[in-house]
Amino acid sequence: MSKKITINGEKRKIEAATVVDLLITESINPTAKFVAVAINGSVIPRQSWSVTKVKTGDSVEIVQPAPGG
């Protein structure tokens, strides 16, 4: 069953079970350096991505470094 989540401010219906599944669905390489993930305001450490479940209602932030002053 698909789950309704918010990812980087966009509403999505997803099938992904874990953070790793979600990243793959969004065409983000889960082994890429410099990527960080937070769910509902808490950072999910990279080593937990494969076991952390994504649930309906979750708000997911996927970030990386960008030019900044």
Binding site: V35, I62, V63, P65, A66, P67, G68, G69
Partner: protein, 260 residues
Amino acid sequence: MGMHDQEKFKIAGRDFSSRLLIGSSGFPNNQVMLESIEGSGADIVTVAIRRVDLSGAGENILDLLEDDYFILPNTAGCYTAKDAVLTAELAREALGTTWVKLEVIGDRDTLYPDAEHLLTAASELIRADFTVLPYCTDDPVTCKKLADLGCAAVMPLGAPIGSGMGILNPYNIEIIRSSVSIPVIVDAGIGTASDAALAMELGCDGVLLASAISRAHNPTMMAKAMRQAIDAGRLAYSAGRIPKKRYAQASSPEDGLIST
């Protein structure tokens, strides 16, 4: 750092070779950014933390910078302590660094720091073992509080971010320098080389700037100007300037003058 500047520039016990810290934003392209950063002599480069573009990931700026520079992530764009703390935690996860340039903005037009949220966020991050370098107002009281909390440096603004107006209150900057024992780095407001030199002449330990170089007509040339300004200003500070006086003091000897 100039060859005559014998004092090491240290933040949180770590030595740096340049007193110029540079932002990575606003450059016309990556090539100009890399040439400018190299020409500036800086070894600390700041980056922001932003959402990955879900429509297709571009290249990561860290691929260009990570081998050659000490990367200092910022919390630019955050308006609450909560967002700033989470951004710092995401930066730690993404970059593997506990260092953070802490920014908590209180107003969209001036981009002035929100002192209350800044102190709250600094306190929380220091408890979590972050090395915190806060961007703050040129207010000696706030700077003292940030130092007392355990910040690794204070980074008072010279003028609003991107304004290029220079150091609007040099007297405050001097008071801040004399009232804290951690490095004082002027962050924001620098417009041209003389502004950076003034910061150093006032006794500041470093200068952080972005727009002054990246938005200059010729960024790579301005980067070199800033490098020289930092060196010249630091040397002048170390050399000890003459006091200002109301009246002239002749530089030529007064003995042996002819008389008509």
